[in-house]
Amino acid sequence: MLKPFALARRAVLAAGLLAATMTPALAADPAETFVSQNIQKGLALLNNKSLTTQQKRDQFEQFLLGLADVKRIADFTLGQYRRSAPPADVAAFEVAFQNYAVAVYQSYFSKYAGQTLKVVGSTQRAPTDYIVATQMIDPSDRSGQAPLEVDFRVRTDTAKPVLTDVALATSSGGQVWLSLTQRDQFVAFLGQNNGNVKLLITHLSDLAKQFKS
């Protein structure tokens, strides 16, 4: 459903009518370009066989921190505890979350290292809030199955676009947003442990170590 919009948009651009015909839908292009250029770089990085495991890990960390607004995601995943927790605990949580996210996302994206990303369209949720729809194309896949659909949520309210969430399609036709899932489990964990953010930090640090070992 999104594809025709993307094609129409490119046709309008090619005709040099951009300035005259600017619409809200057209304004989605910066988010699409951002995803198209950067995610492909990340996949190429994970697929780079000339790098050692440590080099790959270090470069992926730099890549992710340059791409995603990790502090904003961390604060979101704390839910209502973001307001009630001591500022020092929130700051420590942001650091722990960053280490955890780098380790976990590297693990997630490594599975798609040999694939290419194709942007198929985007929708604008708010003036600075976009959802970019993509497909992971596996050149070696001969199964005839539909490619994996991955949506990226991009905010453009800062100096440069930033990634705030990723949604993966499931085999049953479902869709799962990662930050939303993390918020649900962190809030549940804190609810089970009297809102003890320090305990959550310890837990996240342990998980990050496990993923890196």
Binding site: Q124, R125, Q175, F186, H203
Partner: protein, 241 residues
């Protein structure tokens, strides 16, 4: 079969009977029976490790072609139920596709072992009575962790019972040992589903600080997308960052 149903709902009632006052987090997550649900979840995990995983590992060691055949046949057996629910949801195009798939795969696909319908332009889609109830406007109700069956809610548990005991056409055929036919089919369904999601769920468990809450979130998001027939999450329903 009635005995099994009574035992199952009895276990559910027993699990819910010992509920303490729900926490604010449990209420916010629409999980007022969270303490009981967590107990059932712990029981399910133990049962899975003792009884289910050894069988699952054996099943996964079978040739891929054989497992694909089982997967195709199970999907084909669900075809009539999917068709009826498509009709109940007034989804004529999807109902036609479900019917055509069933005819093609039951005949050319040798009883559903092969899936010639998909390359012929008739891809599979799922549908069940829980989704039909949702389309008719029924709310999901509180989150429930069902013994043996896992994440659910009153709407989807009702839907599962209606699909299994009312809509499924095999209820209306005389099958010798019908109970074992049903039980075997459900067990194979679970094996098939778990073998497909085993690696992904292992990843979720490994990266979770609270596996129970992670599964609850994944179940809700996935289920809502299934009810939307795979359409992306409406932008207005996404939270603000």
């Amino acid at each position: 079969m009635r005995g099994v149903g009574a035992l199952f709902f009895g276990l559910c009632g027993l699990a819910l009977a010992g509920c303490a006052a729900p926490s604010p987090e449990a209420m916010a997550a629409n999980d007022p029976y969270e303490p009981a649900n967590r107990q059932v979840f712990a029981l399910n995990q133990q049962l899975e490790h003792i009884f289910f995983l050894p069988t699952l590992h054996r099943y996964q060691s079978l040739p891929q072609g054989l497992r694909t055949g089982v997967h195709n046949a199970l999907r084909n057996l669900a075809g009539p139920t999917i068709f009826v629910n498509d009709v109940l949801q007034a989804q004529s195009e999807r109902a036609e596709r479900a019917a055509a798939r069933f005819v093609v795969n039951s005949s050319i696909g040798l009883g559903g072992i092969f899936d010639p319908a998909t390359p012929a332009g008739l891809p599979y889609h799922g549908e069940d009575f829980g989704q039909t109830l949702a389309v008719w406007g029924a709310g999901e109700g509180p989150y429930l962790m069902l013994p043996l069956l896992g994440p659910s809610n009153p709407r989807d548990a009702t839907g599962l019972a209606v699909d299994t005991f009312v809509i499924d056409p095999t209820n209306y055929f005389h099958i010798e040992g019908h109970f074992w036919w049903d039980a075997g089919r459900q067990y194979l369904n679970l094996l098939d589903l778990r073998s497909q999601s085993f690696e992904a769920l292992q990843g979720v468990e490994r990266s979770s600080v609270d596996y129970y809450a992670a599964l609850r979130s994944l179940f809700r998001q996935t289920r809502n997308a299934e009810i939307r027939n795979g359409a992306p999450t409406p932008a207005a329903e996404l939270p603000d960052f």
